[in-house]
């Protein structure tokens, strides 16, 4: 979660799924962004047609075996917006959030995920989204916060961290800094993306939550996420792949400590 749109929650979710899987953690991905779903595409399962079996909907398995469920798989075309059936769309504010909560509950509970160690849930922007999820999942292990070093993003993210800790009472695994630097695909030189080195680390420290590391922006990584392939497998040893694995290891470490 972040509270802010455009910081790369879905990118980090896909990277973490890749990284945790490489670490041997059985990981699933649920796209909780019903109105702007993208995880099916980023995980390479956009064409999967969900089908029921034994009273549950079978999750799609991506190229490296991660089960994925997303509203995207129920919509006919990439550009089809989410419209709920109603005799009239007028006054939809009275019932839309209700039907979306029901849908999210079903995506969570009616999916056959197989055996999982971790389920990553990609939330849409909005500080209240985590609280809604916590209402559905009282045993939620924790939240991973995603931010860039942009002052605008960090202000919103800071608000969301306070909301998570004080209102939703959800533990925070830590903060992931996304798009920390840009790594050239050719010479691997690094370029700062935002002014404010270590700003996200300071943000995490201020709130007393761990800093989980930084994932750089890389054109090849972005391309892999467009097609649902494992970046870490193909580009093992690349600074971006190492950064993703570092973050995944810290998340894994945090999770292991929670289960003790």
């Amino acid at each position: 979660m972040s509270g802010k749109g455009g910081v790369g929650k879905s990118t980090v979710t896909a990277c973490l799924a890749d990284g945790l899987t490489r670490l041997g953690v059985r990981t699933g991905v649920l796209d909780a962004d019903l109105n702007g779903p993208c995880m099916a595409r980023m995980m390479g399962v956009r064409d999967h047609k969900p089908s029921p079996k034994n009273g549950a909907m079978i999750a799609a398995r991506n190229a490296y075996g991660v089960p994925v469920m997303s509203m995207d798989m129920f919509l006919p075309e990439d550009e089809t917006p989410l419209v709920w059936e109603a005799s009239s769309q007028q006054g939809a504010y009275t019932w839309r959030s209700m039907v979306e909560m029901s849908a999210l509950r079903e995506l969570l509970s009616d999916t056959d995920w197989g055996d999982l160690d971790v389920l990553l849930i990609d939330l849409p922007p909005g500080a209240e989204r985590l609280q809604n999820l916590a209402d559905l999942l009282p045993d939620l292990t924790g939240a991973i916060v995603v931010s860039t070093a942009s002052q605008t993003a960090m202000t919103v993210v800071s608000r969301s961290i306070l909301m998570a800790l004080n209102v939703a009472n959800v533990r925070i695994a830590g903060v992931v800094e996304n798009m920390s630097t840009m790594i050239c695909s050719e010479c691997r030189c690094k370029e700062q993306m935002f002014i404010g080195t270590e700003a996200v680390e300071e943000l995490a420290e201020r709130h007393g939550v761990p800093y989980l590391g930084a994932i750089p922006f890389n054109v090849t990584l972005a391309d892999f996420l467009e097609t649902g392939r494992s970046y870490i497998e193909v580009h093992a040893g690349h600074p971006a792949a190492n950064a993703i694995l570092d973050v995944a290891q810290r998340v894994h470490f945090w999770l292991k400590n929670q289960s003790k």
Partner: protein, 153 residues
């Protein structure tokens, strides 16, 4: 009180009229559109159910546009002990399974094709429902205008 007549469902609402067999006093019950939609959004099946629950039933049955190759929407399931809800379900079921489908004129079809594809099936169903309610066997542009008028558009 005995069941006298049912009207609708149209535009998400329907009315059921009861009449006293002795003095002929009538009482009508009206379902409210917003409340009906709210109850539906919660996944509540009025009058209970007789069919087994399906996975992601609320999600699939509430989507206006779905994958063509996706599994069929879950069965509606009727039943329960309350006579009122039974009548509502019967009336809705009867309206939805009405065999005589109104015929669309070429002009009306062209007009419906101009509507964004993701909302087109829903609009089409609403117009057909209105046409059946009004007893029209053909849907032309006048019928479509009448539907717009009934929605206050």
């Amino acid at each position: 009180m005995a069941l006298k007549s049912t009207h609708g469902p149209f535009d998400g609402s329907m009315s059921i009229v009861y009449e006293c067999p002795t003095c002929s006093v009538q009482t009508a019950m009206l379902t409210n559109r917003a409340e009906t939609q709210m109850v539906r959004s919660l996944g509540v099946r009025i009058g209970g159910r007789t069919t087994p629950e399906e996975p992601m039933e609320t999600l699939r049955s509430n989507l206006a546009s779905v994958q063509e190759e996706s599994p069929e929407g879950p069965p509606s399931g009727t039943g329960g002990k309350c006579p009122f809800t039974g009548m509502v379900n019967d009336a809705i079921g009867a309206a939805e399974s009405e065999p005589k489908k109104p015929v669309w004129t070429a002009e009306a079809l062209a007009r419906i094709e101009a509507i964004p594809h993701y909302i087109r099936p829903m609009v089409k169903r609403n117009v057909e429902s209105y046409a059946r309610e009004q007893g029209y066997l053909e849907i032309d542009e006048d019928v479509m205008d009448a539907v717009r008028g009934s929605l206050g558009m």
